[in-house]
């Protein structure tokens, strides 16, 4: 198998400097198709910045990014999304003034091709309701279909975010700390959910909860001060003394 068939995402010497400070340092990341791949590392290691580079919310200082063998280094964020690479954000990203169903519909609407049609009634979007409700059901939000999202509990918002992302049938999902700030029950639910939706797609996720990482992830990349420290499966990475040191400091 050649590299393009094997890896959905490859970066080469990916680097981002902020006014002389190197937040991402020469990162060569390869994500295998159909893997759940974790990107871990201490606070400030550059994980979110890597996500921002991959989705072009930030422009890399150096390096290239390939998705399915296509160089996307010069593409715009919305273009990358349309290639099937969809990201979530570290803080929950929902449309707070809309209902849960409307949130999902915003994602579904793009394929309908009427998003610029300012003369069509809102009811023309009702054809999407069935699929929207299906997705809400999938993430256990059927009770919240008509709730305004701003008032929903945090864990539910994150679930909604995943439903919205799934609406686009992404090939590659980038999840930035999907379980951050959640109680144990919610963490469990989201973990199950990620496992469920990982079929036929690739997931790259930033995650601090090592329990979640160990149960879900096929491969782990450890980032420290912007550079890759090590890579491997959970056992390999967790037994690496340098990883413990990165997390706990020199004393450990």
């Amino acid at each position: 198998m050649n590299d393009t068939a094997k890896y959905i995402l490859e970066t080469e010497s990916l680097t981002k400097e902020f006014k002389g400070f190197t937040a991402v340092d020469d990162v060569n990341l390869k994500v295998k198709r159909h893997d759940i791949h974790a990107l871990i590392g201490p606070n400030g290691a550059g994980k979110t910045t890597v996500f921002n580079l991959l989705t072009k919310f930030l422009v890399p200082t150096r390096g290239t990014i390939k998705v399915n063998g296509t160089d996307i280094t010069a593409s715009k964020p919305a273009e990358i999304s349309r290639m099937g690479v969809i990201r979530s954000f570290q803080i929950s990203a929902v449309f707070p003034h809309m209902t849960a169903r409307e949130n999902v519909r915003v994602a579904l609407q793009r394929k309908l091709g009427t998003s610029f049609h300012f003369w069509k009634p809102l009811s023309s979007l009702n054809v999407l309701n069935e699929r929207a409700d299906e997705l809400l059901h999938m993430v256990g939000l059927e009770r919240f279909t008509d709730s305004v999202v701003g008032d929903m509990p945090y864990g539910r918002k994150r679930a909604l975010e995943i439903a919205t992302t799934l609406a686009l049938e992404p090939e590659l999902m980038l999840l930035d700390e999907p379980t951050q700030g959640m109680g144990r029950e919610d963490v469990e639910r989201i973990t199950q959910l990620i496992r469920k939706v990982s079929k036929d797609r690739t997931i790259l996720m930033v995650e601090h909860n090592l329990g979640v990482v160990s149960t879900l992830c096929d491969r782990i990349t450890v980032l420290q001060r912007g550079a890759i420290l090590t890579e491997g499966n959970y056992d390999e990475v967790s037994s690496d003394p340098r990883v413990k040191e990165a997390y706990m400091g020199k004393a450990a």
């Binding site: 919310f57 964020p77 954000f89 809309m98 994602a107 998003s115 610029f116 003369w119 979007l125």
Partner: protein, 307 residues
């Protein structure tokens, strides 16, 4: 359902109003109400503070005046040409401004609108300080003589209702849905694959076109386009009307426009004439400090609480 009844009552009132209130005043009010509703499309629903909407209102006012007076176009066509030119101008200004955020957007729209102002002040066809005078009102559909104030009023009311319906539809359309999503969370909308600038740009063009329609109609009513229409004061006034009425509510800006135009009218003819700007300024401050949601917004909130 409640809102439908509300709109029904409002329309009924507007239909009988000219028998109780001076029609020319009502027409002025409707023109500014349409202007404010159009402006709200970009401020309230697009989340962008344009400080240059006088360019569209006043630009269209002059163009309509010119094509009716000099080219002899029928009134309706004159309005369409005015709105169309405002849309084109909106497309150009939007192209330069739409990428900017917040205060930079306000500044660049103001700067470009000032350029438009200087063009109109120095162009020959505008009549300079005197304005473009003596624009004939013409005939509606070629038969109804608009020289009659009552006929003119119903014509203006029809234009207002059409404009208002276009705005309401745009807000509650697939496009409006994406616009709302962008205002709620721009990065998320981007990450879902929407080129957010193109949506804002379309909202800006629509807003410009309808602001233009308002300006064009005003020219026909007063048979005059003047520098006041393109002056930045007018850009400021429409911000005030929209905020006072209620940002991002469909009917709010129309109500805000009604209040401001009424105040201007009564204050200007009374002993407080010279104090109009001070009174408006005070209203603005009170509105920003105490009634953030504007008249209609506060009413909504009160109704919600009491049920």
């Amino acid at each position: 359902m409640n809102t439908k009844v509300g709109y029904g009552i409002a329309l009924a009132l507007l239909l009988v109003a000219p028998f109780m209130i001076y029609p020319v005043f009502l027409m002025k009010l409707l023109c500014f109400a349409l202007f404010a509703c159009a402006f709200n499309l970009i401020l309230g629903y697009g989340g962008l503070l344009s400080f240059g909407h006088a360019a569209f209102f006043g630009g269209a006012a002059y163009i309509t005046g010119h094509v009716i007076k000099v080219w002899g176009l029928p009134t309706e066509l004159g309005l369409l040409v005015g709105a169309g030119s405002a849309a084109a101008l909106g497309y150009l200004i939007g192209m330069l401004a739409i990428r900017r955020q917040g205060i930079y957007f306000a500044m660049i729209t103001l700067a470009l609108a000032q350029m438009v102002y200087f063009i109109f002040i120095s162009a020959d066809f505008t009549g300079g300080e005197n304005g473009l005078q003596g624009v004939p009102r013409g005939y509606a559909l070629g038969i109804f003589d608009l020289q009659d104030n009552l006929t003119m009023y119903y014509f203006v009311l029809a234009v207002f209702v059409i404009g208002f319906l276009i705005i309401a539809r745009a807000v509650y359309s697939p496009f409006g849905q994406i616009l709302g999503a962008i205002r709620d969370n721009e990065d998320r909308a981007t990450s879902l694959g929407y080129d957010v600038d193109r949506y804002k740009h379309l909202a800006f063009v629509l807003s410009a076109a309808l602001a233009g329609l308002a300006g064009s109609t005003k020219t026909v009513v007063f048979q005059l386009a003047s520098l006041t229409d393109v002056h930045w004061h007018t850009s400021g006034e429409v911000v005030l009307m929209t905020l006072l009425g209620g940002l991002g509510t469909i009917a709010g800006p129309a109500v805000g426009a009604g209040v401001i135009v009424t105040l201007q009218n009564y204050l200007a003819s009374g002993p407080l004439g010279a104090w109009v700007p001070v009174v408006l300024g005070t209203i603005f401050v009170v509105c920003v400090l105490a009634f953030r949601r504007g008249i209609i917004g506060e009413l909504h909130a009160m109704l919600k609480k009491s049920f």
